[in-house]
Amino acid sequence: MSSLAMRPCGDFRTSYKADNTIFETKTIRLVTCLVIALACAAPLVLDGYFLTLFIQISYLGIAALGLNILVGFTGQISLGHGAFFGFGAFASAWLNTSFNIPVVFCIPLAGFLTMGVGMMFGMPAARIKGLYLAIATLAAQFIIQDFFGRAEWFTGGASGAMAAPVSLFGFDFDTDMSFYFIALFALVFMYIWGCNLMRSRDGRAFVAVRDHYLSAEIMGVKLNKYRLLSFGISSFYAGIGGALYGHYLGYVSSEGFTILMSIQFLAMVIIGGLGSIKGTLMGVVFMVLLPEVLEGMVGLMKYTDYGNLPMVTDGLAYIKEMAIGLVIILFLIFEPEGLAHRWGQIKNYWKCYPFAY
């Protein structure tokens, strides 16, 4: 099956191996490898602005994938993802400055620390669901945020925490171009890990819990275990994303990790497609580029005679804010399954072109 270049019409998978493959066809695998190779060469042609956007896409993308595993694959909900993201950032900075652990090890360690915290706050998840769970995770958001403000030993309080750049064999990854490779590696690594997780026994258990928890329990899936594990994995991803963010900026301040960030993560996942790994990335790309594209429009407007008025430019700034809200509503109405689903439809259209059935 995996040796096919094109996807056949119909589902002819006859073995578990074929059912489990990451890349459905040879072409997809080839394209993926090609894209990664191209991405490696990208800093040669792209300027700092695009590199920053890519780095943003990767740390947000990693965290968003965590949320998608929780929300999209396990059917739980979390409104505290922004706080976990922040916890990862602080944890990594703290491990590095307090114990002199090299940053490359701090990042995964911060992931595990965040995982612990996430599982602690996920404990109610084993018992409650739906709206009640949403409120419980909302509490996590506020508790952790308050903790950032108070725990001076951990976060530096009002003055924030310093995060050293990633350093390997004496080389500091402190420029956009060098950090780009760290971000790219982390993104690819974490996404492959996510794909593999979903092919595993645990991944299937998550999906079973989501689709029908009663049936899952009858089949022998331990609900408590998998709900909690899902929270742990989700926070692990958030922690890794946060740690990358911290070491990229070189400085972590608790200012940004608010409920708004948590909601933005949810928006990325919903726009991208719940329960889709590639959809997560699409959602993140969309959410990162949307304000930039709108900003670009304002910039272009400024070059015209009519556009360079404070009224127009300020007005567009408001529209930019509203556009994000509008996009979420439009997606919920017209494309509830997200960009991933839309992508699938586009592919289907071309696959049978011009003989769509």
């Binding site: 700092g48 602005y49 695009f50 310093m162 402190d174 608790s254 304000p291 910039g299 404070p310 586009i346």
Partner: protein, 414 residues
């Protein structure tokens, strides 16, 4: 249909993100503003001040003939957006200096600014931005390329505490006056908390545990009751905007007898108008005179204001005037830079150190005299203390005092 949409959006993305500009004898100044986010209440007037000042400079010859190219981006207090804008300006436009805004963006950009040698003039007055070389052991992160016009939050609070100590004596108060910090548990209200409490203790205050109120407007009667029961005499307000209004209203209802002293963003005529009768002898610091004050430099400020308000009727807040000062200090350091090797980020920084007790030309009496040195970025060590009264709708703001603070080395960067 779908592919058409997809194609056109992709094309649109490419064209819009790739917009570039050519420059002939211009330098680029980035301007980050919050006009639609959580701090828009004061962010808008401050941004207007910066923008009008930049436009005015351009309309009157620029920096000795070099035009300023500038772009205002409303980043709505979102850090990722601020970083992206900064990087875009740096890599596309060759930015030489930036006018920034709040705690969130300023702190996120400290390391980048130092690495890229781009001075950032912020409206975040955190004390820890004042230690460019990390001399104070308490400084976590030296901020060599950060400047701001005004006394730091800590210094302003110290000035208020100094005033409060005199006030207590003048009123013939007996025993130790009680001092409480009131504010949200966020970096901005927390910035002066420790430093100010330390100085208050030094001056003989009895410092109470701080009272937390949310950054968002709400009902703060419970907090006001605890202020009342603790018998607080002097309360420092660390928040801004709607939250301050709610606090004043709630405490007025509860009937507390506290002398409120706010941070620089927490007191202006808009707040007083909205907060109503509760505003009685409300003490707040400023770094500039008020719109209606009659000082020589206000003539220029009124001209600058006409850039966006041609009728000249709009009464600007003191935040606006501070934005003008911040821009004019940058302008004069750029002029120095142009005369001494060209306008680059590094030279603009050096230009900031070129003068002592320095007031931008034309703004005499408006901007306080400032001195920046390579070791000490506490430009201003003076605090104007003003008193606001609601006065049944006829709002009165009067100057009470001007406090000058020592530049103590143990206060550097904190």
């Amino acid at each position: 249909m779908t592919k058409k949409i997809l194609l056109s959006t992709t094309l649109a993305c490419l064209t819009f993100t790739a917009g570039a500009a050519q420059a002939e004898d211009t330098v680029f100044v980035g301007h980050l503003a919050d006009m639609s986010g959580p701090t828009a209440f004061v962010g808008k007037p401050y941004a207007d001040g910066v923008r009008d000042a930049l436009a005015y400079i351009n309309a009157h010859g620029g920096i000795d003939g070099t035009k300023l190219e500038y772009e205002t981006i409303d980043y709505a207090y979102k850090v990722p957006q601020a970083i992206a804008s900064y990087k875009k300006w740096l890599s596309r436009k060759n930015m030489v200096a930036m006018q920034g805004w709040g705690t969130a963006d300023t702190e996120a950009l400290i390391s980048f600014a130092a690495k890229d040698k781009t001075p950032i003039f912020s409206a975040s007055y955190s004390g820890h931005l004042t230690d460019p070389k990390g001399k104070n052991p308490k400084t976590t992160k030296p901020a060599p390329y950060n400047f701001f016009y005004g006394a730091s939050y800590s210094d302003a609070c110290r000035g208020l505490v100094q005033w409060a100590a005199d006030d207590w004596k003048a009123k013939g108060g007996k025993g130790k006056p009680k001092f409480t910090h009131i504010g949200a548990n966020h970096p901005f209200p927390n910035a002066p908390k420790e430093a100010c409490a330390e100085y208050a203790t030094e001056l003989g205050f009895d410092v109470q545990p701080s009272v937390v109120i949310s950054m968002k407007p709400g009902d703060f009667k419970a907090q006001c009751l605890s202020l009342k029961s603790s018998g607080t005499n002097y309360g420092y307000i660390g928040n801004l905007g709607g939250s301050v209004q709610s606090l004043i209203k709630s405490c007025d209802t509860v009937g507390t007898d506290i002398q409120f002293m706010s941070n620089i963003w927490g007191g202006d005529k808009l707040v007083f108008k909205a907060a109503g009768e509760g505003v009685r002898n409300y003490i707040f610091p400023t770094m500039t005179p008020f719109w209606t004050d009659d000082v020589p430099g206000m003539k220029l400020v009124r001209e600058i204001s006409k850039m966006s308000d041609s009728t000249g009727t709009e009464e600007r807040l003191h935040h606006y005037i501070r934005g003008v000062c911040s821009t004019y200090f940058m302008k004069e350091s750029m002029e120095w830079a142009k005369a001494n090797g060209g306008i680059t980020g590094e030279n603009v920084k050096k230009g900031m150190y070129a003068h002592k007790n320095w007031v931008p030309k034309g703004l005499e009496g408006v901007c306080l005299a400032a001195t920046w040195t390579p070791e000490d970025h506490r430009g201003i060590n003076q605090v104007n203390i003003y008193k606001g009264n609601f006065n049944h709708g006829d709002i009165k703001v009067e100057k009470v005092n001007q406090v000058t603070l020592e530049r103590r080395t143990d206060w550097l960067g904190y």
